[in-house]
Symmetry: C2
Subunit: 167 residues, 2 copies
DNA sequence: TATTGTTATACTCTATAACTATA
DNA sequence: TATAGTTATAGAGTATAACAATA
């Protein structure tokens, strides 16, 4: 094998480790806050946020699984918890009988509204306190293209290799 | 309700979500690579990296637990796996009989060396491909202060007693 | 008495594979 | 045949609390 085309220099390695540590510490703090404020895991919070932001508060299962990185069975598990808690509903998709449309309930929206202020407080305090408004803008400008790059890239939720591969 | 002291604006919220998604996707890809290349979890990799970078390849248990965000029992569990795999040793600390000094073995260093190229390849491809060298420098400049800020903050490995509801 | 680390335990989450139903 | 989602299952990882040993 020839040299890899994407070697990382020391600066990049440092940025990478900082990214990992920052996101890890942040996530840890956030999970605590969400658990105390609303008995939510971070994954569940993400699901609710996606739904809350979505048109009509609805998304398809696979859409959510892809977005939040889980396997489908993982999302089914989480959806089961959220449904049992009355925070979402699952109904057959109108245009595709195979599909399931997940919708956030009023209780779900209320919970998000209740949890969000404390959530933002934690994020503001931990992540943005040492950053100026300009810095935040820069961070956003740097991360959004990376996110899009990653989204566009290779593997997603399920789908091992048994897809339409070798005939 | 009055505005919280650390409210986040929409730009910041976007940056935060991008950070979470980027680190999540990156970590997911990395875990796959590490598992295939060296049968390592990401946490184990982090432990080995810390030791590899440390003077004499040694750290104390609590030091590692704090750095990598785990509870102590969690680190004990991981250290057990790493020791069983011959990648680290645990010896009583010379200056404090209560303590345990963790040291990376030659095999541990060899494994890091074996795994690192592929690791960097993934990081370079996923994280840095859409960023110029300058961008990477900027990202580093932004994240390192945040990391230090988070490190300086109070909550660490051992969770404080559950008491006193927050405001 | 406080701190370091381990053990026991219980629980959550995740992924794989098999399965059902629809396109 | 391919896709959407669920179920069964099995395994890894985590945190909490109790514990032992040293400071």
């Amino acid at each position: 094998m020839p040299d890899p085309p994407h070697a990382v220099d020391p600066v990049q390695l440092g940025a990478y480790f900082a990214l990992i540590e920052v996101s890890g510490l942040l996530r840890h703090a956030i999970e605590q806050q969400l658990r105390e404020a609303g008995d939510l895991t971070f994954v569940q919070f993400q699901v609710l946020m996606r739904l809350d932001q979505a048109a009509e508060g609805s998304r398809r299962m696979t859409e959510l699984a892809d977005a939040i990185v889980h396997s489908r069975s993982g999302l089914t598990y989480q959806a089961g918890r959220l449904e049992k808690a009355g925070l979402i509903t699952r109904t057959p998709s109108p245009d595709d009988e195979r599909g399931v449309t997940v919708t956030i309930t009023d209780a779900g929206r209320a919970l998000i509204a209740r949890v969000l202020p404390g959530h933002e407080e934690v994020v503001g305090r931990m992540l943005f306190e040492p950053l100026s408004r300009e810095d935040s803008q820069k961070l956003s400008d740097l991360l959004l293209p990376v996110r899009d790059h990653m989204r566009a890239a290779p593997p997603r939720s399920a789908a091992p290799r048994r897809r339409g591969a070798p005939g």
